[in-house]
């Protein structure tokens, strides 16, 4: 058994332990989850460097996995922390067990060098997410959102599997490296590869929430309880990018000519739909959903280069996005607890009521809009640089223009918070004290957005390092 | 030349098909006769247990009673309720009967004597027995009667619950014999009475037999019929030949379960005196028949003895007792197999 698997095994065991704890000591489920995740981060950092391939690529540990896994774990920890006050009414053992299993699925996916584990990891993650959305059963909106998520998620899994089966039929292997060689070879029939990759890409785009496969996203974001929206919107996005990188980047790296145009279209449509769609949203979660769609378009800008530097930029963008969206949803969650509202108009006067929250939210919104010197700006710069490097200059120009459109609605939130008079919701809300740890981590989160934006060198360097050797030497 | 060859091919094929047909008939005919007399024995046994005589009018001591019943049922009118789904209503009895008879294809009567001695025979048995429920469900639904529907629902939930424990019990047998082939499972038990799987797998054998009783919807698990609450359950609307087919299916299933228990746990056609007594020690069909007769007697015995289970108790027994029990025993068996326990593993 590979040493690098220890973190994954720890998380899987944690899921079982937390399930039992939930039965006997529900109040310990949350601290146990955090302790296990923290232990997993430590284990990953210690064992992650022992790279290699096991069992014909079923389990792969490379620099890429060694970088992604701690990110996934840390993001999940923050997400559980922010969500805790809201989920305290729900069945504790079940919620954290599902969450840990989702994390386990992401870890499996990250270390997959084989179609089988790629799919199984993805399903483990997705199934846990569907159930988490529906876990608050008195909430009808959540049930509806879960249903939509489940239906479209199932459909996308079906498309993905169909693409997988065709890829297996064409190449006769499920190992991604062997597949890359076979697809690059002369024997692979071009038209069949196109069909296979179309299905695989469509399925991946669904999971990533890229337009025009984004229909589920606004409804799911809005309908889910904010704690689960936060979960769905952070780490699983990173996992979906990993799916794209492993499947298309590694498995079909020789077929750049087939998928690069497709990714260009997806990126452009996604940025446009995300930027324009968010303009007239009244619900903050829906707004963040459209923002997610737009950001996924930017992520694809990096990935479509098909080079190690391009994927590095994508991963950097995605990591930054995870940090920003965690912070944004963290504030949304607190306000949700405080004033029982998700309307943007109700954020009026937040700056007076709670300057700390408003400051973090402002920082996050500026960063999401791509205002220098924040993290979001650096991330955008990197992916646009990658896209220009790949020769997609016009697309890069369009991306910049669209991000100007997007800046409008981010700034509207800031304007409402700082300039509008408080509405009833926030004004008469009871004094809900925000737990100190949440305040602290929110502050840290905001500080990260600022500091990493000003000094991105280290993280950027790690991202580029992580992708070294990701692609086969051509 | 090719014509001649293909002609020969055809005749060979026809010949093979004819032989196969005869073999199938040779299995089905005795089963039908046994079913007929099983009904007679049932009434006699339960009669004596309740201090009655049972049927004794038709023929010597009532021995012709089954034939009288068959004629009565076949001559009756087949009624189809006014708003029933006619097609499914008439198909359902066959769907109940076909799997009950089809399973016999892999049952070995003595060494190598099965219609199809296939490697995955045990899986085939599981697949076929899992399909028997369709006849009941469809009968209940197509009758357009609330009692029938209730009976069908009960039956469906019950079958699904007990199938799992049944499958787990068979996993124990598979592990012990290292085979899915029914023939080889019996051969693996050769070597005398103490080699039979009933000893090391006693809980599994008991669970399997009880699940068998439940799967055939026999007392005390006959809530699908439950005449005291839901009249006659799924077959309340059936008369004449349709009812006869359900009857046939139920009894054929009983005989099948008895045969399977005999094969899986008590050595099938093997003699209990193997290696001890010269003539009695020989294996043969008669031993299988004797064992089956014993288990069939148990079916009747249960019916005369036990009151019907309440529905929630049935579910509790299936999910909360049998499944954990079988899982536990499979775990234990793993350990035994690893350390080499007794003459069995």
């Amino acid at each position: 058994m590979p040493l690098a698997m220890s973190g994954l095994i720890l998380v899987a065991l944690a899921a079982c332990a937390v399930l039992l704890l939930g039965l006997f000591r529900p109040q310990l489920a949350y601290p146990a989850t955090q302790v296990f995740l923290a232990a997993a981060v430590v284990v990953e950092l210690m064992t992650g460097t022992s790279s290699g391939h096991w069992w014909g690529g079923l389990f792969v540990q490379d620099a890429f996995a060694a970088f992604i896994k701690p990110v996934l774990l840390v993001v999940s920890m923050a997400v559980f922390l922010y969500g805790r006050p809201m989920v305290s009414r729900w069945p504790q053992g079940e919620y954290y067990t599902l969450g840990l299993l989702a994390v386990a699925g992401m870890l499996i996916l990250t270390s997959a060098g084989h179609l089988l584990t790629l799919f199984l990891g993805l399903e483990l993650m997705s199934l846990a997410l569907y159930a988490m959305v529906a876990l608050d059963r008195d909430n009808d909106m959540a049930s509806e959102a879960a249903m939509k998520y489940f239906m479209l998620g199932g459909l996308s899994s079906g498309m993905l599997l169909y693409g997988f089966s065709l890829l297996y039929g064409i190449t006769g292997t499920m190992n991604l490296q062997a597949m890359a060689l076979a697809l690059g070879g002369a024997g692979a029939p071009g038209s069949a590869v196109v069909v296979a990759l179309t299905f695989a890409l469509a399925g991946t785009a669904f999971k990533l929430g890229v337009a025009p496969f984004h229909m589920w996203l606004p409804d799911v974001y809005e309908g889910s309880p904010a704690a689960v929206t936060l979960f769905v919107g952070a780490a699983p996005k990173v996992a979906a990018l990993v799916l794209l990188a492993r499947l298309v980047g590694q498995g079909a790296q020789a077929n750049l000519a087939i998928w690069q145009p497709a990714l260009m279209v997806l990126a452009l449509v996604s940025m446009a739909v995300g930027s324009f769609g968010a303009l007239w949203q009244q619900n903050i979660k829906r707004l963040l959903a459209y923002s997610a769609i737009a950001h996924m378009g930017f992520v694809l800008l990096g990935a479509l280069a098909g080079s190690e530097a391009g994927y590095g930029a994508s991963i950097f963008y995605m990591t930054s996005y995870a940090v920003m969206s965690t912070a944004a949803f963290g504030v949304v969650l607190v306000v949700c607890q405080m004033a029982q509202t998700e309307r943007i108009a109700d954020y009026a006067g937040l700056a007076e009521r709670s300057p700390w929250l408003a400051a973090v939210m402002m920082l996050t919104m500026f960063s999401l809009a791509g205002v220098p010197p924040l993290l979001g700006f650096m991330a955008k710069l990197e992916v646009i640089r990658a896209a220009v490097g790949a020769g997609a200059v016009r697309l890069a120009v369009l991306a910049v223009l669209l991000s100007v459109v997007a800046a409008f609605y981010y700034l509207r939130v800031v304007k409402v918070m700082y300039m509008d008079a408080p509405t009833v919701a926030l004004g008469r809300s009871p004094d809900v004290t925000v737990p100190a740890d949440i305040k602290l981590v929110l502050g840290l989160n905001g500080a990260m957005i600022l500091l990493l934006g000003m000094m991105p060198g280290h993280v950027l360097h790690w991202c580029q390092q992580a992708l070294r050797g990701f692609l086969l030497p051509s | 030349m090719t014509m001649a060859l293909s002609g020969q091919y055809m005749t060979n094929g026809l010949l093979a098909a004819g032989v196969l047909l005869l073999k199938v008939l040779a299995v089905i005919m005795p089963i039908t006769v046994v079913v007929a007399y099983l009904t007679y024995v049932e009434r006699k046994v339960i009669g004596y247990m309740q201090r009655r005589i049972g049927p004794h009018r038709v023929g010597y001591r009532g021995l012709l009673q089954p034939f009288a019943d068959v004629f009565k049922l076949l001559l009756k009118e087949v009624l189809v309720p006014a708003s029933a789904n006619r097609f499914l209503f008439l198909t359902a009895p066959f769907l109940a009967l076909v799997p009950a008879l089809a399973t016999w294809a892999v049952v070995p009567f003595w060494r190598g004597a099965a219609l199809a001695n296939v490697d995955a025979g045990l899986l085939y048995v599981l697949a076929m027995t899992s399909m028997t429920v369709y006849g009941i469900i469809l009968a209940g639904w197509s009758s357009n009667s609330k009692y029938a529907l209730l009976g069908a629902m009960r039956s469906a939930a019950q079958m699904v619950a007990y199938e799992i424990a049944m499958g787990f019990a068979l996993v124990g047998v598979i592990m012990a014999s290292n085979s899915l082939n029914l023939d080889r499972i019996v051969v693996a038990q050769a070597g005398g009475l103490h080699h039979w799987y009933i000893w090391p797998l006693l809980p599994l054998a008991v669970v399997y037999f009880i699940c068998g009783v439940a799967e055939t919807n026999r007392a005390p698990f006959d809530v699908a019929e439950g005449e005291s609450e839901i009249v006659a359950g799924f077959h309340v609307e059936y008369s004449g030949a349709g009812f006869a087919l359900f009857f046939l299916a139920e009894y054929a299933n009983m005989i099948l379960i008895s045969a399977l228990v005999s094969i899986f746990f008590v050595g099938g056609w093997l003699s209990p005196f193997e290696g001890l007594v010269p003539i009695l020690g020989k294996p043969g069909l008669h031993w299988l028949a004797l064992k089956m007769a014993f288990f069939l007697f148990c079916f009747l015995w249960f019916r005369a003895t036990f009151p019907r289970y309440r529905y929630d108790q049935i579910m509790r027994l299936g999910w909360k007792v049998f499944i954990p029990l079988t899982l536990l025993w499979i775990g234990l068996e793993c350990v035994w197999k690893a350390v080499g326990f007794g003459p069995w593993f």
């Binding site: 059963r137 064409i170 | 995955a120 899992s130 629902m153």
Partner: protein, 207 residues
């Protein structure tokens, strides 16, 4: 042609049954067509020599999943007319998309017909399958186990509602009941008429 006849027959049944699933107006018929489709698929696998997969398909899908499916379909009241209307409305578009996709896929995959794919080993492959699952593919097999655990937890978490005030049986407590819990003996003065209040003089007799 002749040896391939069973294959074409089972395939025809599979396609016909699948069309039936989509086209049936009665949901019970649709479910039954799905059963037929599963059985046909099992026959196809059997013909390909994959007897374990075929039997597992029948046991799991036909024997358990579809039974529960039918169970649910029979209990809910589906408005056939409404279903039918939307079906007819979307039929032209659906057929168009389906045909277009089929033509494209056939055109794309035509070159793939020969060569690809692996033959199943002759005879039984259950053992080979088992060996592979528990050695080379142990890791994905364990992940599948995790997914099933997840499914159990999710299904129970989403459906189990502890209702207040239901009277359910607890066999453990039933077994633990003792005589003192149920039976009290009272010593009554012999001349007291029956049916009246217990007199204060009645004494509890310790049992």
């Amino acid at each position: 042609m002749l040896p391939a006849l069973p294959f074409y027959l089972a395939s025809a049944f599979l396609i016909g049954a699948s069309l039936g699933v989509v086209g049936s107006r009665n949901p019970v018929y649709a479910a039954l067509f799905l059963v037929l489709a599963f059985v046909s698929a099992a026959v196809l696998w059997l013909l390909a020599g994959a007897e374990f997969l075929a039997m597992a398909l029948v046991v799991v899908y036909v024997g358990a999943v579809m039974v529960l499916f039918l169970f649910v379909v029979m209990m809910i009241d589906v408005r056939l007319a409404v279903l039918h209307r939307s079906f007819v409305r979307y039929l032209p578009l659906g057929v168009l998309v389906a045909v277009a996709m089929m033509v494209q896929i056939i055109a794309a995959l035509r070159g793939l017909a020969q060569g690809a794919g692996h033959a199943f080993p002759e005879g039984g492959n259950t053992e080979a399958l088992g060996t592979l699952i528990y050695t080379r593919f142990l890791y994905p097999f364990e992940i599948a186990g995790l997914i099933l655990l997840l499914a159990i937890v999710a299904a129970i978490a989403l459906t189990l509602r502890r209702r207040e005030g239901t009277r359910h049986q607890d066999p453990g407590r039933q077994v633990l009941v003792r005589k003192q819990d149920r039976l009290r003996l009272w010593r009554l003065p012999p001349h007291q008429a029956s049916g009246e209040q217990l007199p204060a003089s009645a004494q509890r007799e310790d049992t």
